[in-house]
């Protein structure tokens, strides 16, 4: 982390210098064009200390109450915090999971719970979530509710999301979580995390193990 920060700072510094030289100070809030991390972790990490699932009671895509802990009990479960007005990482993550999930035997597909919790509940109504998730996999569960509740749930599993901010130009700035939480059907605890660079192949390899509660 430190190393990555330093690299980023270095790049930002160079960028800032360049910008200063160009006299475009008005762009100083822009990041460097590309920030490359020096160290990378495993795409799917096994946690040293498993975590409890977030204790979230929210509303599903049918407008019904959904108790995350209660309704995923005994099932291998994937939880991701994201939002539908997201052209890049959120659909990529959910599509990666979808493609990998379809490679599982039918019974295991039915056993698996994939839960998408919105980090932008104001825009992601049950209907909006239903439409968007339906475009990926109709079996995916979509949850919405009050932002504060969702944020507290995310915090309990060390996922940082921030309240969407509406800028003057009407643009809404939202955040998505960086990791996918994967829980074991054996003890209902989160033992694994899918990092943002986990692709289809990583999930395809990991899911057959995880659905059995084994380390990938």
């Amino acid at each position: 982390m430190r190393k990555r920060n330093l690299t980023a700072a270095g790049i930002a510094l160079v960028s800032a210098l360049t910008l200063a030289a160009c006299g475009s100070g008005d762009d100083s809030d822009q990041p460097a064009a590309s920030v490359s991390g020096g160290t990378r972790s495993e795409p799917i990490v096994t946690l040293d200390r498993p975590m409890e699932k977030p204790d979230l009671v929210l509303t599903d895509t049918e407008g019904k109450k959904y108790d995350l802990i209660e309704q995923t009990k005994g099932h291998p479960t994937l939880v991701y915090f994201g939002y539908t007005h997201c052209p890049d990482v959120c659909p990529l993550t959910m599509n990666n999971i979808d493609v990998a999930m379809r490679q599982l035997p039918k019974a295991e597909q039915d056993d698996l719970r994939v839960v998408f919790v919105t980090s932008d509940p104001e825009r992601d109504t049950p209907a909006a979530l239903k439409k968007w998730l339906g475009g990926i996999n109709k079996k995916f569960v979509g949850l919405t509710g009050s932002f504060d509740t969702i944020q507290a749930g995310a915090r309990s599993v060390n996922i940082g999301i921030e309240k969407p901010v509406k800028k003057k130009n009407g643009d809404v700035v939202s955040t998505h979580g960086a990791q996918v939480l994967l829980s074991s059907p054996k003890d209902d605890k989160i033992h694994w995390m899918g990092m943002q660079d986990a692709g289809v192949d990583h999930y395809s390899k990991a899911l057959p193990k995880i659905t059995k509660g084994q380390n990938p």
Binding site: M1, R4, T7, A8, S15, T18, L19, A21, C22, S24, D27, Q30, P31, A33, S34, V35, S36, G37, G38, T39, R40, S41, E42, P43, V45, L47, D48, R49, T84, H85, P87, D88, V89, P91, L92, N95, D98, V99, K131, W132, G135, I136, N158, I159, G160, E162, K167, N169, D171, V173, S174, T175, A178, Q179, M195, Q196, D197, G199, V200, D201
Partner: protein, 195 residues
Amino acid sequence: MNRRTTLAAVLALTAGFALAGCGGDSAPELKVSGAYLPQPVDQSMAGAFMVVENSGGTADKLTSVTSDLSDDVTIHTTKNNKMEQVKSLDIPANGKLELARGGNHLMFMGLKKKPAEGQTVNVELHFATAEPIKVQVPVRSATYVPKNGGGQGGDKAGDGGGSGHGGAADHGSMQHGGSQHEGSMDDHAQHHAEK
């Protein structure tokens, strides 16, 4: 040799500053490569990625984008998992601007149709200085990530377009499995043409 390289670097740096500082007379020379648009979930929005290389001695900026896919195309950055619209993105002299998964991207809102894998989207990039560039952007699968980039497995700084976010490390208190691999992720980037 070393000394010469250093000197050359210093000269290049000075030249770069000088040119950038006074507008310069060596025009930016831009080339676009590796463009793709992942098949979107629905018709409401799509993102696109590419690399704009500048072999000229003057920096430029990507200032706006037009397309036959949408009348509302904006330029976005992603910092700490937070996506934000920006007015422009810099293309450094003798450098490149990377639009990659998890980072900078073009955002198309209110699509005229839902692009399907195998199709092409016409995009025109507009710059502060250089002439506009027309790019035919191929629509790839929703899970497509280029082999050398896209915030994925690139090992070399500046080569992989590393996203700079996404690791548990960003959240401080995360427990890692302990295995930190450096430079072993070549087989890591995904390439999925089908779903």
